[in-house]
């Protein structure tokens, strides 16, 4: 029945605020009605997760009190933080795992304390439904999708630009910058992007493939080395995320690309504003929107709903799939639809 109230938490802030104020009056306690929600981020200084957590913070404004934790890329630290938050009496947990495999352990803790649990961005590889706890859900993407979309983007552009096949051998010589090894997104993007391109009938040759750990500096260093080694042979750069793509672009610029008509197609994933700038300037070919606004917002909404004992999707336009996961769709982003991405990043 309360669908209306929670339907649009960002837009509907007013009604929320007033209702909670009423309750405050009743209880005589300032924050009593705003449920405490414990949040862990696998690594606070991860680019994309920063957007996601900022979205969480704004989604929580007036509705919940977030207790943020930086898990420092260390699952053990995260376990400790979960213990602390349970001790502290949070009403729900939103967890961006360090090690996706640790989901059941975290769930055990939540279960013992009877606290609902939302995983976000990193998914239990066996499927969230395989976890032995009824109050656990996942919000994220379908990793494969980002690979497919990136592949599609590349394939279409490649076909439209025969001149990109610089050596004219009819084969796309590419280099691949991978994200963190073992990360479901990284694995899927690496695999499915290339598969999609091949399925489109394009012959490919992988010149180099290494992990850049989602990181711009590493991306730049690797690309510089490869440019020294492969020189003009490289015809396409695939990056598992935009962070690394930024580094790649810097390396290319330093090697004389993007001026005097020298061009190299580079694609990433995430659609962070910096990448959008580069697309705007015709430097990056495109990217895949990994919607942080919705991932952040939905995870917090679900936490608040479940903490209040309501249906977890109460007031949300999303549905659960058979693995108890909400899938936020990826979107291809090129110069034509930059606005879409900008909106998702709260830039408009």
């Amino acid at each position: 029945g309360s669908k209306e109230k929670d339907a649009e938490p960002t837009g509907g802030n007013d009604s929320n605020q007033s209702s909670s104020e009423k309750d405050q009056g009743n209880k005589g306690d300032n924050s009593a009605d705003k449920p405490k929600v414990g949040v862990t981020i696998y690594k606070f200084d991860d680019n994309f997760m920063t957007y996601t957590r900022n979205a969480m913070t704004s989604a929580a404004e007036g509705n919940a009190e977030l207790v943020m934790n930086d898990s420092q890329n260390n699952q053990s630290v995260q376990n400790d933080q979960v213990d602390v938050m349970i001790n502290k009496g949070v009403k729900a947990l939103v967890i961006n795992l360090v090690d996706p495999g640790a989901a059941p352990t975290i769930a055990d803790k939540a279960k013992a304390a009877d606290i609902p649990l939302i995983f976000v961005n990193k998914e239990y590889p066996e499927g969230t439904d395989k976890i032995d706890y009824d109050k656990v859900w996942y919000v994220g993407t379908q990793s494969k999708e980002s690979g497919d979309i990136q592949g599609k983007l590349v394939a279409e552009a490649w076909k439209a630009h025969p001149e990109w096949d610089r050596n004219g051998d009819g084969v796309m010589q590419y280099v691949m910058l991978m994200g963190e090894p073992g990360h479901p997104d990284a694995e899927a993007r690496t695999k499915y992007s290339v598969e999609y391109i091949k399925d489109e009938g394009i012959r490919v040759e992988e010149l180099e493939k290494q992990t850049g750990m989602w990181d711009a500096t590493k991306g730049k260093e690797l690309m510089t080395t490869w440019l020294g080694k492969e020189g003009d042979k490289i015809e396409m750069v695939l990056c598992n995320n935009d962070g690394m793509a930024l580094g790649v672009v810097e390396a290319l610029k330093a090697d004389g690309y993007f001026s005097d008509g020298k061009y190299m197609p580079v694609v990433g994933v995430d659609a962070i504003p910096e990448a959008l700038d580069l697309i705007q300037q015709d430097i990056m070919l495109g990217t895949v929107l990994n919607d942080p606004l919705n991932q952040g917002r939905v995870s917090i909404e679900m936490a608040i709903n479940s903490a209040a004992g309501k249906d977890v999707l109460d007031g949300l336009d999303f549905s659960l799939d058979e693995t108890k996961a909400v899938r936020i769709p990826y979107q291809p982003i090129t110069k034509d639809n930059l606005d879409l991405a900008k909106k998702a990043y709260g830039m408009e």
């Binding site: 699952q75 360090v98 090690d99 352990t105 073992g182």
Partner: protein
């Protein structure tokens, strides 16, 4: 009259001496008081139990490296030892009921689990032994020896992990997980609760064991001698090589055990497990008064160091300090604590 004045100033001096001597404990106390003032709900038996449980594996690692530091060495490979134990352990001890077991034909009996545990402890101990050998026999400085080992272990564990599919190894044997996550005893105090976890027991055993080694045995005394003045030890007939190797082996056993417990606690392993643990372990030792120049240190100090770090981590997270600010506060606390504690060592000249 003169005598009385002297008497008083003497007592004053005694008090300030006492304050100095136990400075680090006072710092701990003040820290706790400030945290409590911030959020008094932290005072509970449950908090205490959580802190002690969380400190357990760290304590074991710190005790391991503590001996190495007393030898005037260091160990940068701790984290990767934990990672190795984690990845190999996880691959060997998956739950029988799990459909996508990596090695579906591996036995799952208690015996096999016990054997796996033994094997992994031996494996890690062997790696630590090699560290000792590199330092004592090949005379490579411990910093470089263990840095090299760090890289080799990480590369090896990661390659193995990658060969197994490169995704988190989950669904561990329940019995094994119970060892790391179980509780021996729960004491209810109304809605509050104190418990004694198995982890605490393991830590306690390690503390007693290392205390005994350091204070009661020949190897312990030799360790202090080698760390304090290797030349003097050598001319007194102490074998530096043997002493070093034994201390690294003891550290290895602790690392192996702690690694397995970390695995059990996390319930899953990636090659990333253990990242950066060496810094935590070494820092705890140094804050606890173990000198990086060798020859000086105590088990009580190390345990205090570990607990200080754990209280800081727990306390700051509990009172909900902004995560980035937490770093600043943590850094400041460490600096202040050690600055005060250091007063007592300053030469009176």
């Amino acid at each position: 009259m003169d005598k009385i004045i002297r008497k008083i100033s003497f007592d004053k001096k005694k008090i300030s001496d006492l304050l100095l001597k136990y400075a680090i404990y006072f710092v701990l106390l003040i820290m706790i008081i400030v945290i409590i003032i911030e959020d008094s709900s932290i005072v509970s038996w449950r908090s205490l139990a959580t802190i002690l449980t969380q400190a357990s594996t760290r304590c074991m690692l710190a005790l391991g490296v503590g001996g190495i530091i007393v030898l005037a060495g260091t160990d940068l490979s701790i984290g990767r030892m934990v990672g190795l134990a984690g990845v190999v352990g996880a691959s060997l001890m998956q739950s029988p009921g799990f459909s996508r077991r990596i090695f579906p034909n591996l036995p799952t009996s208690g015996w096999f689990i016990a054997l796996s545990i033994l094997f992994i402890i031996l494996l890690v101990t062997f790696a630590s032994f090699i560290n000792g050998w590199l330092t004592a026999k090949l005379h490579i400085t411990p910093f470089i020896a263990t840095l090299g080992m760090q890289l080799v272990l990480y590369g090896a564990a990661s390659s193995y992990y990658n060969a197994l599919g490169g995704s988190p190894i989950t669904s561990l044997n329940e019995g094994f997980k119970y060892i790391a996550q179980g509780k021996l005893l729960k004491l209810k105090f109304g809605s509050d609760e104190f418990y004694i976890s198995f982890l605490m027991i393991f830590a306690l055993i390690s503390i007693l064991f290392i205390w005994f080694i350091w204070n009661k045995t020949r190897i312990g005394k030799n360790m202090f001698a080698v760390g304090g003045n290797a030349e003097a030890a050598a001319v007194s007939g102490v074998s530096i090589v043997k002493t070093t190797l034994i201390i690294y082996v003891i550290a290895g056993v602790l690392y192996g055990a702690a690694g397995l417990l970390e695995l059990g606690r996390t319930g899953s392993a990636t090659n990333n497990l253990g990242l950066g643990y060496e810094l935590d372990a070494i820092s705890a030792c140094v804050v606890g008064g173990v000198s990086l120049m060798g020859g000086v240190g105590s088990v009580a100090g190390i345990v205090t160091g570990v607990i200080i770090f754990q209280v800081i981590n727990f306390g700051l997270a509990y009172i909900g300090v902004d995560p980035y600010l937490q770093y600043v506060v943590k850094g400041m606390i460490i600096l202040i604590a050690v600055a005060i504690d250091t007063r007592k060592y300053i030469k009176k000249k």
